[in-house]
Symmetry: C2
DNA sequence: GCGTAATTGAAAATAATTATCAATTATCTC
DNA sequence: GAGATAATTGATAATTATTTTCAATTACGC
């Protein structure tokens, strides 16, 4: 059950949020690609369908979608943020290509043991984690060798 | 062998970097605390010793220290960056208290297996990772309950 | 002391995000 | 289908974090 623009639209309405054409434009942009996009890039694309949309509304819509766990946020090491439609519904992490920024989701998250151990050793109450892997995808690896 | 301001000063000189009073002021600030500090906060403190120092120089010095692996950079989930003197010299990660921002270093990094598995499954060449744990330290946990 | 390349700080530029607020509008009610 | 209303929007300005530019300064080897 992949998330589509319409499916998300239904979820928004269910949750009591208005279904505005601006929000729908953002949803269509997000559903149309598997790439991570910056708010600015999403704004550019959404303007094709709705030239009057404001960048602020894109930010607001992304915040809303993130709050509802409908989009994933990618934390590049340099601090920029990319957004993409959430693909696996359950807990997962991201492998990001340093060349082309492609994102692969992976679910293997062997952190609960680690968290328990660290929690025991530090007496911290551990509530979450941030894990991302970086590397080169097969295509970018080839290019890099050329 | 803990890193002190003077030890780092020696390393800088060894590497051919000039030992300016501005850099030394930043080093002293970093050596004087175990807290993570923003560039702005480091700037404020460094001004006590050297009122004429510029914020730009703080940024430049932090970049230099990070390049030489002498400071650690903390990536808060919201995108802000904190810096602190590097304590364990070898590879490690950070557990950050969401209450008081205290950072605990931990070395257990059970990611090589995971990386190999993901690498095999995705054909990516994995070159690095970002891992941080978040939680509440014992003191902040107590406060939260009050 | 001198020469020189590295370093510095003021100022402006850039980038990413957030706040303000009056005007608009999606949706509920009749 | 209108009317009420609270949510939503976009222009604009404000903030925040960082980087660039460039002329003046300075640490350090000779
Ligand atoms: Mn994802
Ligand atoms: Mn550290
Ligand atoms: Zn790639
Ligand atoms: Zn704490």
């Amino acid at each position: 059950m992949k998330l589509t623009a319409n499916k998300i639209a239904g979820i928004l309405r269910e949750q009591g949020y208005k279904l505005t054409p601006q929000r729908h434009a953002v949803l269509k942009v997000m559903a149309a690609t598997h790439d991570q996009l910056t708010p600015e890039a999403i704004y550019e694309r959404a303007r094709a369908a709705r030239p009057d949309i404001g960048l602020v509304t894109v930010y607001r819509t992304l915040d809303l979608l993130a709050k509802l766990d409908l989009v994933c946020r990618i934390h590049a090491p340099d601090g920029c943020h990319g957004y993409m439609m959430r693909r696996p519904v359950d807990h997962h992490h991201h492998l990001v290509c340093s060349g082309c920024r492609t994102v692969v989701d992976f679910a293997e998250c062997s952190l609960s043991e680690l968290e328990e151990k660290v929690s025991r050793e530090t007496s911290f109450d551990i509530t979450g984690h941030l894990l991302e892997l970086y590397g080169l995808c097969p295509e970018c690896r080839t290019t890099a060798v050329d």
